[in-house]
Subunit: 173 residues, 2 copies
Protein backbone atom coordinates (compact mmCIF):
# COMPACT_ATOMS: atom_id res chain seq x y z
CA UNK A 1 0.00 0.00 0.00
CA UNK A 2 2.84 2.35 0.90
CA UNK A 3 4.60 1.83 -2.47
CA UNK A 4 1.36 2.19 -4.41
CA UNK A 5 0.62 5.54 -2.75
CA UNK A 6 4.14 6.95 -3.10
CA UNK A 7 4.56 5.82 -6.73
CA UNK A 8 1.12 6.61 -8.13
CA UNK A 9 -0.88 8.81 -5.80
CA UNK A 10 1.23 11.21 -3.79
CA UNK A 11 -1.73 13.54 -3.23
CA UNK A 12 -3.68 10.60 -1.79
CA UNK A 13 -0.72 9.74 0.43
CA UNK A 14 -0.82 13.28 1.83
CA UNK A 15 -4.55 13.03 2.47
CA UNK A 16 -4.14 9.68 4.19
CA UNK A 17 -1.38 11.03 6.43
CA UNK A 18 -3.53 14.02 7.28
CA UNK A 19 -6.55 11.84 8.06
CA UNK A 20 -4.51 9.62 10.37
CA UNK A 21 -3.03 12.67 12.14
CA UNK A 22 -6.53 14.11 12.63
CA UNK A 23 -7.84 10.81 13.97
CA UNK A 24 -4.91 10.54 16.38
CA UNK A 25 -5.50 14.10 17.59
CA UNK A 26 -9.27 13.87 18.05
CA UNK A 27 -9.73 10.24 19.09
CA UNK A 28 -10.80 9.67 22.69
CA UNK A 29 -12.34 6.84 24.67
CA UNK A 30 -16.05 7.02 25.49
CA UNK A 31 -16.41 7.87 29.19
CA UNK A 32 -19.09 5.21 29.55
CA UNK A 33 -18.17 2.28 27.33
CA UNK A 34 -14.46 2.94 26.66
CA UNK A 35 -14.69 2.50 22.87
CA UNK A 36 -13.15 4.97 20.36
CA UNK A 37 -15.15 8.15 19.88
CA UNK A 38 -14.57 11.80 19.02
CA UNK A 39 -16.96 13.11 21.69
CA UNK A 40 -17.07 12.46 25.43
CA UNK A 41 -19.90 9.94 25.10
CA UNK A 42 -20.14 7.71 21.99
CA UNK A 43 -23.23 7.55 19.77
CA UNK A 44 -24.32 4.16 21.10
CA UNK A 45 -24.15 5.16 24.78
CA UNK A 46 -25.98 8.40 23.96
CA UNK A 47 -28.80 6.55 22.17
CA UNK A 48 -31.85 6.63 24.43
CA UNK A 49 -33.68 4.01 22.39
CA UNK A 50 -31.28 1.27 23.45
CA UNK A 51 -31.78 -1.00 26.46
CA UNK A 52 -29.70 0.41 29.31
CA UNK A 53 -30.10 -2.74 31.41
CA UNK A 54 -27.77 -4.92 29.33
CA UNK A 55 -24.03 -4.48 29.04
CA UNK A 56 -22.15 -6.49 26.41
CA UNK A 57 -18.45 -6.79 27.31
CA UNK A 58 -16.07 -7.14 24.34
CA UNK A 59 -12.31 -7.07 24.01
CA UNK A 60 -11.80 -4.47 21.25
CA UNK A 61 -13.76 -1.80 19.33
CA UNK A 62 -13.75 -4.08 16.24
CA UNK A 63 -15.62 -6.71 18.29
CA UNK A 64 -18.24 -4.08 19.16
CA UNK A 65 -18.70 -3.44 15.43
CA UNK A 66 -19.15 -7.17 14.76
CA UNK A 67 -21.92 -7.39 17.36
CA UNK A 68 -23.56 -4.24 15.96
CA UNK A 69 -23.53 -5.80 12.47
CA UNK A 70 -25.68 -8.67 13.69
CA UNK A 71 -28.55 -6.19 14.36
CA UNK A 72 -29.55 -8.64 17.12
CA UNK A 73 -28.39 -6.65 20.14
CA UNK A 74 -29.97 -3.46 21.45
CA UNK A 75 -28.22 -2.96 24.77
CA UNK A 76 -25.04 -1.06 25.61
CA UNK A 77 -21.38 -2.09 25.54
CA UNK A 78 -18.18 -2.00 27.50
CA UNK A 79 -14.88 -2.32 25.63
CA UNK A 80 -12.01 -3.73 27.69
CA UNK A 81 -9.35 -2.61 25.17
CA UNK A 82 -7.54 -5.87 25.77
CA UNK A 83 -7.69 -9.20 27.54
CA UNK A 84 -5.93 -10.98 30.39
CA UNK A 85 -2.73 -12.47 29.08
CA UNK A 86 -0.31 -13.51 31.85
CA UNK A 87 2.27 -14.77 29.33
CA UNK A 88 2.51 -11.23 27.91
CA UNK A 89 2.49 -9.73 31.39
CA UNK A 90 -1.03 -8.31 31.00
CA UNK A 91 -2.90 -8.63 34.29
CA UNK A 92 -6.20 -7.26 35.65
CA UNK A 93 -4.65 -3.84 36.37
CA UNK A 94 -3.62 -3.33 32.74
CA UNK A 95 -7.19 -3.62 31.47
CA UNK A 96 -10.18 -1.40 32.29
CA UNK A 97 -11.57 -3.89 34.86
CA UNK A 98 -12.18 -1.38 37.65
CA UNK A 99 -13.93 0.97 35.22
CA UNK A 100 -16.15 -1.92 34.08
CA UNK A 101 -17.05 -2.80 37.68
CA UNK A 102 -17.92 0.83 38.37
CA UNK A 103 -19.92 1.07 35.12
CA UNK A 104 -21.85 -2.15 35.80
CA UNK A 105 -22.69 -1.05 39.35
CA UNK A 106 -24.66 2.01 38.26
CA UNK A 107 -27.92 0.49 39.51
CA UNK A 108 -29.45 0.41 36.02
CA UNK A 109 -27.44 -2.44 34.46
CA UNK A 110 -29.05 -5.80 35.28
CA UNK A 111 -27.20 -8.23 33.04
CA UNK A 112 -23.61 -8.33 31.86
CA UNK A 113 -23.09 -10.42 28.71
CA UNK A 114 -19.47 -11.57 28.49
CA UNK A 115 -18.58 -11.59 24.79
CA UNK A 116 -14.83 -11.98 24.91
CA UNK A 117 -13.33 -14.37 22.36
CA UNK A 118 -13.27 -18.14 22.90
CA UNK A 119 -9.48 -18.12 22.89
CA UNK A 120 -7.54 -19.11 26.01
CA UNK A 121 -7.04 -15.43 26.95
CA UNK A 122 -10.67 -14.49 26.22
CA UNK A 123 -11.95 -17.40 28.31
CA UNK A 124 -9.67 -16.53 31.23
CA UNK A 125 -10.88 -12.93 31.06
CA UNK A 126 -14.52 -14.06 31.06
CA UNK A 127 -14.01 -16.35 34.08
CA UNK A 128 -12.24 -13.62 36.03
CA UNK A 129 -14.92 -11.03 35.23
CA UNK A 130 -17.78 -13.44 35.97
CA UNK A 131 -16.48 -14.00 39.50
CA UNK A 132 -16.20 -10.30 40.24
CA UNK A 133 -19.50 -9.29 38.65
CA UNK A 134 -21.54 -12.07 40.25
CA UNK A 135 -20.14 -11.05 43.65
CA UNK A 136 -21.89 -7.72 43.08
CA UNK A 137 -25.26 -9.34 42.53
CA UNK A 138 -25.35 -8.89 38.75
CA UNK A 139 -26.68 -11.50 36.32
CA UNK A 140 -23.73 -12.63 34.23
CA UNK A 141 -24.07 -14.53 30.97
CA UNK A 142 -21.68 -15.84 28.31
CA UNK A 143 -22.34 -15.98 24.57
CA UNK A 144 -22.98 -19.50 23.33
CA UNK A 145 -20.40 -21.91 22.04
CA UNK A 146 -21.38 -24.55 19.52
CA UNK A 147 -21.94 -25.30 15.86
CA UNK A 148 -22.25 -22.37 13.44
CA UNK A 149 -25.55 -21.50 11.77
CA UNK A 150 -25.85 -23.72 8.69
CA UNK A 151 -23.23 -26.03 10.16
CA UNK A 152 -23.07 -29.80 9.71
CA UNK A 153 -21.75 -32.31 12.22
CA UNK A 154 -19.56 -33.84 9.54
CA UNK A 155 -17.55 -30.61 9.19
CA UNK A 156 -17.34 -29.64 12.85
CA UNK A 157 -14.09 -30.02 14.77
CA UNK A 158 -14.31 -32.49 17.68
CA UNK A 159 -13.81 -29.86 20.43
CA UNK A 160 -16.62 -27.68 19.12
CA UNK A 161 -18.96 -30.65 18.71
CA UNK A 162 -18.12 -31.80 22.24
CA UNK A 163 -18.96 -28.32 23.58
CA UNK A 164 -22.17 -28.23 21.54
CA UNK A 165 -23.21 -31.48 23.23
CA UNK A 166 -22.21 -30.38 26.73
CA UNK A 167 -23.94 -27.01 26.36
CA UNK A 168 -27.08 -28.39 24.72
CA UNK A 169 -30.30 -26.55 25.45
CA UNK A 170 -33.43 -28.22 26.77
CA UNK A 171 -36.32 -27.38 24.44
CA UNK A 172 -39.53 -26.21 26.03
CA UNK A 173 -42.87 -25.61 24.38
CA UNK B 1 -9.12 -43.42 -8.18
CA UNK B 2 -10.70 -45.73 -10.75
CA UNK B 3 -7.94 -45.01 -13.35
CA UNK B 4 -5.20 -45.39 -10.76
CA UNK B 5 -6.48 -48.81 -9.73
CA UNK B 6 -7.06 -50.08 -13.27
CA UNK B 7 -3.72 -48.79 -14.61
CA UNK B 8 -1.40 -49.65 -11.71
CA UNK B 9 -3.03 -52.00 -9.27
CA UNK B 10 -5.44 -54.44 -10.88
CA UNK B 11 -5.10 -56.88 -7.99
CA UNK B 12 -6.05 -54.07 -5.59
CA UNK B 13 -9.03 -53.23 -7.79
CA UNK B 14 -10.22 -56.79 -7.49
CA UNK B 15 -9.82 -56.72 -3.70
CA UNK B 16 -11.71 -53.44 -3.48
CA UNK B 17 -14.57 -54.79 -5.59
CA UNK B 18 -14.71 -57.89 -3.42
CA UNK B 19 -14.70 -55.84 -0.21
CA UNK B 20 -17.56 -53.66 -1.44
CA UNK B 21 -19.56 -56.73 -2.53
CA UNK B 22 -19.03 -58.31 0.90
CA UNK B 23 -20.06 -55.11 2.67
CA UNK B 24 -23.19 -54.86 0.53
CA UNK B 25 -24.08 -58.49 1.25
CA UNK B 26 -23.52 -58.40 5.02
CA UNK B 27 -24.51 -54.83 5.90
CA UNK B 28 -27.68 -54.46 7.96
CA UNK B 29 -29.25 -51.78 10.09
CA UNK B 30 -29.01 -52.10 13.89
CA UNK B 31 -32.43 -53.09 15.23
CA UNK B 32 -32.11 -50.54 18.01
CA UNK B 33 -30.31 -47.49 16.61
CA UNK B 34 -30.68 -48.02 12.85
CA UNK B 35 -26.98 -47.45 12.05
CA UNK B 36 -24.95 -49.73 9.77
CA UNK B 37 -23.84 -52.96 11.39
CA UNK B 38 -23.06 -56.56 10.47
CA UNK B 39 -24.93 -58.03 13.45
CA UNK B 40 -28.49 -57.53 14.64
CA UNK B 41 -27.48 -55.11 17.37
CA UNK B 42 -24.48 -52.79 16.83
CA UNK B 43 -21.50 -52.61 19.19
CA UNK B 44 -22.58 -49.32 20.73
CA UNK B 45 -26.14 -50.46 21.54
CA UNK B 46 -24.75 -53.71 22.96
CA UNK B 47 -22.29 -51.89 25.25
CA UNK B 48 -23.62 -52.15 28.80
CA UNK B 49 -21.22 -49.51 30.10
CA UNK B 50 -22.99 -46.72 28.21
CA UNK B 51 -25.80 -44.60 29.61
CA UNK B 52 -29.07 -46.07 28.34
CA UNK B 53 -31.07 -43.00 29.43
CA UNK B 54 -29.77 -40.68 26.70
CA UNK B 55 -30.53 -40.99 23.02
CA UNK B 56 -28.59 -38.82 20.57
CA UNK B 57 -30.49 -38.46 17.28
CA UNK B 58 -28.32 -37.91 14.18
CA UNK B 59 -29.05 -37.85 10.48
CA UNK B 60 -26.48 -40.31 9.12
CA UNK B 61 -23.99 -42.97 10.35
CA UNK B 62 -21.10 -40.56 9.58
CA UNK B 63 -22.62 -38.08 12.07
CA UNK B 64 -22.66 -40.82 14.70
CA UNK B 65 -18.93 -41.34 14.07
CA UNK B 66 -18.28 -37.59 14.47
CA UNK B 67 -20.01 -37.58 17.86
CA UNK B 68 -18.10 -40.72 18.92
CA UNK B 69 -14.79 -39.03 17.98
CA UNK B 70 -15.46 -36.25 20.51
CA UNK B 71 -15.24 -38.84 23.34
CA UNK B 72 -17.68 -36.54 25.16
CA UNK B 73 -20.84 -38.61 24.81
CA UNK B 74 -21.56 -41.88 26.58
CA UNK B 75 -25.21 -42.45 25.79
CA UNK B 76 -26.87 -44.30 22.90
CA UNK B 77 -27.83 -43.16 19.40
CA UNK B 78 -30.60 -43.23 16.88
CA UNK B 79 -29.75 -42.75 13.20
CA UNK B 80 -32.58 -41.33 11.07
CA UNK B 81 -30.86 -42.27 7.77
CA UNK B 82 -32.05 -38.97 6.33
CA UNK B 83 -33.80 -35.70 7.12
CA UNK B 84 -37.06 -33.99 6.30
CA UNK B 85 -36.75 -32.32 2.91
CA UNK B 86 -40.12 -31.32 1.42
CA UNK B 87 -38.46 -29.88 -1.70
CA UNK B 88 -37.04 -33.33 -2.49
CA UNK B 89 -40.34 -34.99 -1.57
CA UNK B 90 -38.95 -36.51 1.64
CA UNK B 91 -41.60 -36.39 4.36
CA UNK B 92 -41.93 -37.92 7.85
CA UNK B 93 -42.96 -41.29 6.42
CA UNK B 94 -39.75 -41.62 4.39
CA UNK B 95 -37.56 -41.41 7.49
CA UNK B 96 -37.44 -43.74 10.49
CA UNK B 97 -39.58 -41.41 12.64
CA UNK B 98 -42.01 -44.02 13.90
CA UNK B 99 -39.13 -46.36 14.79
CA UNK B 100 -37.50 -43.50 16.74
CA UNK B 101 -40.74 -42.79 18.64
CA UNK B 102 -41.04 -46.46 19.52
CA UNK B 103 -37.36 -46.65 20.53
CA UNK B 104 -37.58 -43.51 22.71
CA UNK B 105 -40.72 -44.76 24.45
CA UNK B 106 -39.03 -47.86 25.93
CA UNK B 107 -39.36 -46.47 29.47
CA UNK B 108 -35.57 -46.32 29.97
CA UNK B 109 -34.73 -43.35 27.73
CA UNK B 110 -35.16 -40.08 29.65
CA UNK B 111 -33.59 -37.51 27.33
CA UNK B 112 -33.47 -37.24 23.56
CA UNK B 113 -30.64 -35.03 22.26
CA UNK B 114 -31.49 -33.77 18.78
CA UNK B 115 -28.18 -33.56 16.91
CA UNK B 116 -29.36 -33.06 13.35
CA UNK B 117 -27.39 -30.53 11.31
CA UNK B 118 -28.04 -26.77 11.56
CA UNK B 119 -29.09 -26.68 7.92
CA UNK B 120 -32.67 -25.76 6.96
CA UNK B 121 -33.60 -29.45 6.60
CA UNK B 122 -31.86 -30.46 9.83
CA UNK B 123 -33.57 -27.68 11.76
CA UNK B 124 -36.99 -28.58 10.34
CA UNK B 125 -36.39 -32.21 11.29
CA UNK B 126 -35.40 -31.20 14.84
CA UNK B 127 -38.51 -29.01 15.28
CA UNK B 128 -40.81 -31.76 14.03
CA UNK B 129 -39.23 -34.40 16.26
CA UNK B 130 -39.20 -32.11 19.32
CA UNK B 131 -42.97 -31.64 19.08
CA UNK B 132 -43.66 -35.36 18.85
CA UNK B 133 -41.17 -36.43 21.54
CA UNK B 134 -42.23 -33.78 24.05
CA UNK B 135 -45.84 -34.86 23.60
CA UNK B 136 -44.72 -38.23 24.99
CA UNK B 137 -43.29 -36.68 28.14
CA UNK B 138 -39.63 -37.01 27.18
CA UNK B 139 -36.99 -34.36 27.88
CA UNK B 140 -35.84 -33.06 24.51
CA UNK B 141 -32.66 -31.03 24.00
CA UNK B 142 -30.81 -29.56 21.04
CA UNK B 143 -27.04 -29.30 20.64
CA UNK B 144 -25.77 -25.74 21.04
CA UNK B 145 -25.33 -23.21 18.29
CA UNK B 146 -22.72 -20.50 18.63
CA UNK B 147 -19.07 -19.62 18.18
CA UNK B 148 -16.57 -22.46 17.68
CA UNK B 149 -14.04 -23.36 20.35
CA UNK B 150 -11.06 -21.02 19.88
CA UNK B 151 -13.28 -18.69 17.86
CA UNK B 152 -12.99 -14.91 17.74
CA UNK B 153 -15.86 -12.46 17.26
CA UNK B 154 -13.94 -10.78 14.47
CA UNK B 155 -14.06 -13.92 12.32
CA UNK B 156 -17.62 -15.04 13.11
CA UNK B 157 -20.37 -14.64 10.54
CA UNK B 158 -23.17 -12.28 11.65
CA UNK B 159 -25.88 -15.00 11.84
CA UNK B 160 -23.77 -17.21 14.08
CA UNK B 161 -22.80 -14.29 16.32
CA UNK B 162 -26.46 -13.24 16.56
CA UNK B 163 -27.41 -16.80 17.59
CA UNK B 164 -24.55 -16.92 20.10
CA UNK B 165 -25.98 -13.77 21.70
CA UNK B 166 -29.58 -14.98 21.68
CA UNK B 167 -28.63 -18.39 23.09
CA UNK B 168 -26.23 -17.02 25.71
CA UNK B 169 -25.94 -18.99 28.94
CA UNK B 170 -26.41 -17.47 32.36
CA UNK B 171 -23.35 -18.29 34.45
CA UNK B 172 -23.93 -19.61 37.93
CA UNK B 173 -21.40 -20.26 40.65
Amino acid sequence: MAYHLLQRDQAGAGELAHAIMTALATLKHCQLCNTFTESDICEICADENRTHEQLCVVEMPTDLLMVEHTLAYHGLYFVLMGRLSPLDGIGPKDIAFSRLLERASDGIVKEVILSTNFTVEGEATAHYLAEMLRARGLTVSRIARGLPVGGELEHADPSTLAQALVERRTLTG
